[in-house]
């Protein structure tokens, strides 16, 4: 009993250490009140307009300066605004930075037009730099078009790069003015060049794909290769049992109560341990080779495969990945843990 009291005290002591700083608390309340006062309470609309106005002004100025060059070139150029310090103001510059560094090409592979992209790069959880880009003639970045963003070495330090893109849309009846994509971790590259795609078919559901990871979806793992060959969406439970035997563990997702089956593929003797609760992916066992892959199959209401995920160790680079076959038939690969 005494142990539990002490544990409860430890939790309470933890709770008291995480208060939001007073200044940040005030700032958030200010934003809430601003947005409550907005007659059209649309997500992030108010906070974004100044960027759009600033970018438009920068575009006009740069258009004048570079008009001769544009007249002689049939190719669209882009205008970028760059902010290497998140706390400072935004400096406009043309997108012709030279030298080494990092180049990120982002292609609009969505079905929507985009006015402006603001690339934000994070390292160790904090934004290290950001850069905005739009077509210099003010036209929308239409599906199929792309922009290059260049960053100098001194803007980006050592370590993993995480990236998100804030998108601004042309005014429309739906009232969606901007959207921030989910943040992704960029794959390693020797040349500092990244090629990303924006995917999605509605303005409020756009996501980034790193082509280095997603192109062709190579899963360097024999067990996952077999799973990919065999498992298709819409298979029935008995069909899956015929493919992989009945040696699965049944579970229910606590997040949304969906039923899933877990298959441990190519396990070593003695796995799983007796305290396995059958609900977790076992990253440690995957890393140390006790399991080649764990496959989680999710079922729809007709007891057919809705989607599945496989966690595995890449046999080449020894990172742990999660491969997903989603319910719409698309594939995703996600880096779970580096070696």
């Amino acid at each position: 009993m005494k142990q539990y009291e002490k544990m409860n005290q430890a939790f309470q002591s933890l709770n008291q250490k995480f208060d939001l700083p007073e200044q940040e608390q005030k700032e958030i309340l200010l934003k809430i009140n601003e947005r409550m006062n907005d007659t059209k309470p649309i997500k992030k609309r108010g906070s974004f307009q100044w960027k759009y106005i600033l970018a438009s002004a920068a575009t006009i100025v740069l258009l004048i300066i570079t008009s001769i060059a544009f007249m002689t070139s049939p190719n669209k150029e882009l205008v970028q605004e760059q902010d290497t310090n998140p706390d400072s103001g935004t400096n406009a510059s043309t997108g012709n930075l030279t030298g080494e560094g990092v180049t990120i090409h982002i292609t609009n592979n969505t079905t929507v037009n985009i006015d402006m992209m603001m690339v934000k790069i994070y390292q160790d959880g904090s934004m290290s730099t950001s850069q905005g880009g739009m077509n210099a003639d003010g036209s929308a970045i239409v599906p199929g078009d792309g922009l290059d963003f260049q960053f100098l070495d001194e803007e980006i330090g050592e370590g993993d790069l995480e990236l998100e893109v804030e998108l601004t849309y042309p005014s429309n009846e739906e009232g969606v003015s901007s959207f921030v994509t989910p943040r992704i971790t960029l794959s390693e590259t020797d040349e500092g060049k990244y090629s990303l795609q924006l995917k999605g078919d509605t303005e409020s559901n756009i996501y980034l794909l790193d082509e280095a990871i997603f192109a062709g979806i190579t899963t360097n793992n024999t067990s996952v290769g077999i799973a990919r060959e065999k498992i298709e969406l819409g298979l029935t439970k008995s069909e899956v049992e015929n493919l992989f035997w009945e040696d699965y563990k049944k579970g229910t997702s606590d997040v949304d109560n969906r039923e899933f089956w877990r298959y441990d593929l190519d396990t070593s003797i003695g796995y799983p341990s007796s305290d396995d609760n059958y609900e977790n992916g076992d990253i440690e066992a995957i890393k140390n080779g006790d399991i080649q892959a764990q496959v989680f199959i999710y079922w729809d209401e007709d007891n057919q495969v809705k989607n599945y995920s496989a966690i595995y160790l890449d046999q080449d680079n020894h990172h742990v990945y999660a491969y997903h076959l989603l319910s719409d038939g698309s594939e995703k690969l996600e880096l779970v843990q580096k070696k």
Partner: protein, 174 residues
């Protein structure tokens, strides 16, 4: 209902519960900036949904909103955590955010162990043990039965102890 009254109420709720809501989101997601965004969105959604609030338990209602927003955020930004409910949200225990650095050693180890638990365990532990909601309040926030809350809390605490033991945490409080 008068808009001014609604705004005033939201402001009062903010002064009373904003730290609570922020803590909850932060413990679930492990990211200060994201937790701040969720805090802001929680109060805006409370304002927009003001008329649907039945006036019973404001704190629980705000937590329900914050949970929905947090899970939505996890689903979008860390799909593996959503799909499998098993991958720790905190990506690296070596690189501690500023707030974690301010914890003493045993608090830090407790926090890291907590962040290694699967989402449903972490969720129920934060609500019951850190935010001190009753079993029935916790069940309502999570949309679970009271029995499921009890079972998951038991398993969650067991898993937490195991994590602490893994770290060789000679923590006499546990």
């Amino acid at each position: 209902m008068d808009q001014q009254y609604k705004k005033q109420q939201v402001n009062e709720w903010y002064h009373t519960y904003s730290n609570d809501v922020y803590h909850y989101s932060y413990f679930l997601i492990g990211d200060h900036e994201q937790a701040k965004d969720i805090l802001q969105e929680t109060y805006l959604r409370a304002y927009r949904k003001f008329d649907s609030f039945q006036g019973e338990n404001v704190r629980g209602w705000l937590f329900r909103i914050a949970r929905n927003l947090t899970i939505d955020d996890i689903r979008k930004k860390r799909p593996i955590s959503y799909f499998l409910d098993s991958i720790p949200i905190l990506k690296s225990t070596e690189k501690s955010p500023e707030q974690i650095a301010m914890l003493n050693e045993s608090e830090q180890e407790l926090y890291v162990a907590l962040s290694k638990l699967k989402l449903s365990f972490r969720d129920v532990i934060v609500l019951r043990k850190i935010k001190e909601f009753s079993i029935s309040e916790t069940a309502e926030i999570l949309g679970w039965s009271e029995n499921k809350v009890k079972v998951n809390l038991f398993r969650g605490i067991k898993a937490l102890r195991k994590e602490l033991e893994k770290e060789n945490f000679s923590h006499e409080t546990v």
